[in-house]
């Protein structure tokens, strides 16, 4: 249909780069993106089999979609799984105790055979601390988002399906929480709740639920207006049944996709609190407090290979995990056809 093309300024693949895709974690900035109302969808394929029963449609579409995942997705998944394994198995890996002090490593703490990534100024093995540090990040990242998805998801479904007063109230409540910059809200709640592993998980869940609430609510509203839902309603199906169908076919992919990005955001959030010295207190190793220590030791003039390793090792660990999980989220989103503008 060359005739209908607009020979504009752009190159050939005009449509391929379109769409708003900044729902990537890493910043408050992108937390921010999650908090947005839907911008008008542009160039979104809507040729979905609307008339098909939801379940058939879902499986058929899913089968086709899984094949579209690139090798990059599987590499990213591999990285994420690897870190999960590390976090689970840190205790049985052949590494030092992360709080153990090697006094021979205090003086010359550059990377060596005994300490592959060197030691921190306190003589603790950097490799061990990086690997153990994954525990705090991963536990808080996954647990807080799990809580957030359960709370935000249920509320979002209810608000999106029933609308009315419940939607209004929840909308105002989530709005209030979103009126704080996320890190500031986190800091305020830390003052109130405390800084144990469980406390920080709770803090991040409190910060995260309004975002997940919005995502799920928007997806539910969109889904509730689909023909097959309207038809089911007209036929007198019970709300619980409709919610189950809607939940299965339309909302779960959205929740999973944004949940993944949420995990990355939660880990960044925990990292920021840790970096500020306001997350799980030392001596527990976290990526955030290690980066803070590394930052301090590189800024003093007497920086060495050890302080470089102390800064770079946890940074690379965190970056690799966040990048991988963001990439997974991004690929899943495009493959599951979660509307980029859905929130």
């Amino acid at each position: 249909m060359a005739d209908e093309r607009d020979p504009g300024l752009a190159g050939d693949d005009l449509r391929s780069g379109g769409g708003v895709e900044v729902g990537v974690a890493g910043y408050g900035a992108s937390t921010a993106v999650l908090g947005q109302e839907p911008p008008e969808a542009r160039g979104v394929a809507t040729a979905r089999g609307r008339a098909l029963p939801a379940a058939d449609r879902a499986t058929a579409v899913a089968r086709r979609r899984w094949r579209q995942l690139s090798w990059g997705f599987w590499v990213a998944t591999g990285v994420v799984v690897l870190w999960i394994l590390v976090a689970l198995l840190a205790g049985v890996l052949p590494i030092d105790n992360p709080n153990n002090i090697d006094f021979s490593c205090l003086a010359s703490s550059s990377p060596s055979g005994a300490h592959l990534l060197g030691c921190d100024p306190a003589g603790r093995d950097t490799l061990a601390r990086v690997l153990y540090g994954s525990r705090v990040s991963l536990i808080i990242g996954f647990a807080s988002i799990a809580i957030g998805i359960v709370v935000g998801g249920v509320l979002g479904l209810l608000a999106g399906y029933f609308r009315g007063a419940i939607d209004e109230v929840l909308g105002v409540v989530s709005n209030v929480f979103l009126s704080f910059p996320s890190l500031v809200l986190g800091l305020v709640i830390v003052t109130y709740i405390g800084r144990s592993l469980f406390d920080i998980t709770l803090v991040i869940a409190i910060v995260a639920w309004p975002l997940l609430f919005r995502v799920v609510r928007a997806a539910t509203i969109e889904s509730a207006q689909r023909d097959y839902v309207l038809a089911a309603k007209a036929l007198g199906a019970r709300p619980s049944r409709i919610l189950r169908t809607v939940l299965l076919s339309d909302v779960v992919p959205v929740a999973i996709t944004y949940g993944l990005i949420g995990v990355a955001l939660a880990i960044v959030g925990e990292g920021a609190l840790s970096f500020l010295g306001l997350s799980v207190p030392p001596p527990t190793a976290t990526w955030g407090n290690m980066i803070a220590e590394g930052a301090n030791s590189v800024s003093s003039v007497a920086s060495s290979g050890a302080s470089l390793s102390l800064l770079l090792s946890p940074s690379i660990a965190m970056f690799s995990f966040i990048l991988a999980i963001n990439f997974m989220g991004d690929r899943l989103r495009s493959v599951l056809d979660v509307r980029q503008g859905v929130i």
Binding site: M1, A2, E4, P7, G11
Partner: protein, 354 residues
């Protein structure tokens, strides 16, 4: 219009204002090479109106843009010859073309609402080419724009200059687009389906406006349309395009009275007439145009043609002259000839056409 600072002076020549010779425009796409314009030739005498007619997908829009050179910068092949006022436009670098665009050659696009930048006041959209090409000062350009708006029939032009496009109706928008296109007094105006999306009355008004402006300013005009009926009374010559090629070309009156190409005939039949009853169902042409990246051998219309014979699918018909010298067409079994009648009869008997 004040002191013009022309970047390039275009001298009037004796010959036609525009000569197009074997123009080809191909797009490289993932699905293959799309031959949107596949060897088109025509001439346009200064002051005349040429209509290019065809269905969507026939290549007429690309042709109009290709004539101008207004094509994407990558993955496009444009071959042949386009001479405008003695200048060769094919192969000319874009910065040279830009000096002509908007100044000597202007274009009016299909959809007036999307052709205007929604976030820019219409005043600036009209004056920017004046300021750019003619070098007018802000106030000069403003005065000129006011006059232009008045000439395209917009009341209270001074106030309206400060309006945004969304504050106007579709018809008004098209008037504004036209005003901005003719701002610099181009010699050639390309109007690409200027009435799409407008209702019939407004469409007629727009076309009348274009005709009036053309006469007043002695422009040449190329009017691209899918509606043969609409352009019939407003053009001097008509080119009928199908699948990237010219299939019939004639002065308007000749084409209407002495149609040769079955495709033209089909287009004519599908055009509404004022004499028709309001509920007459228009016949449509069965089938769809061929895939532009994979044209069939022979006549490209053959698969949809009521006259088609085996030869049509094998041998591509050349353009051949009709009764008057300005009339050419490409068909083995032309309408209104014994050959054609015979072929049609044969197909009717075979039941190929209902």
């Amino acid at each position: 219009m004040g002191a013009r600072r022309r970047v390039r002076e275009v001298r009037p020549t004796d010959g036609p204002l525009l000569e197009v010779e074997d123009l080809r425009t191909y797009f490289e796409t993932r699905r293959g090479l799309v031959k949107a314009v596949d060897g088109v030739s025509f001439e346009l005498i200064a002051g005349r109106t040429l209509a290019i007619v065809g269905e969507s997908g026939s290549g007429k829009t690309v042709l109009s843009r290709s004539v101008m050179g207004l094509l994407p910068q990558r993955n496009v092949t444009r071959e042949g010859r386009v001479r405008f006022a003695g200048l060769d436009l094919v192969g000319a670098p874009e910065h040279e073309l830009r000096e002509l665009w908007g100044d000597q050659i202007a274009m009016v696009f299909q959809d007036p609402v999307t052709s205007l930048n929604p976030v820019v006041r219409i005043g600036r959209q009209i004056t920017e080419s004046l300021r750019h090409h003619v070098g007018m000062s802000r106030s000069e350009a403003r005065a000129a724009a006011t006059a232009l708006l008045r000439s395209v029939g917009i009341a209270e032009p001074e106030q309206r200059l400060r309006w945004y496009p969304h504050q106007f109706s579709g018809g008004m928008c098209q008037r504004i687009v036209i005003a901005s296109a003719i701002a610099c007094g181009p010699q050639l105006l390309l109007a690409d389906e200027p009435t799409t999306g407008l209702d019939v009355t407004v469409a007629a008004q727009i076309l009348d406006l274009l005709q009036r402006l053309q006469h007043e300013r002695q422009m040449s005009m190329i009017l691209v349309s899918h509606d043969l009926g609409l352009v019939a009374g407003r053009s001097d010559d008509i080119i009928v395009m199908y699948a990237g090629k010219v299939v019939e070309k004639a002065p308007t009156a000749t084409l209407l009275s002495d149609t040769r190409m079955p495709y033209t005939e089909a287009l004519l039949r599908s055009a509404p007439r004022l004499t028709d009853g309001s509920h007459r169902r228009l016949p449509t042409i069965p089938g769809a145009p061929p895939d532009p990246s994979d044209y069939p051998a022979g006549c490209r219309f053959a698969s949809r043609c009521a006259y088609a014979q085996p030869r049509c699918a094998e041998e591509e018909p050349p353009l051949r002259p009709g009764a008057v010298p300005e009339h050419t067409y490409a068909c083995w079994y032309p309408v209104g000839t014994p050959h054609g009648a015979e072929a049609l009869e044969l197909n009717r008997a075979g039941g190929a056409v209902g």
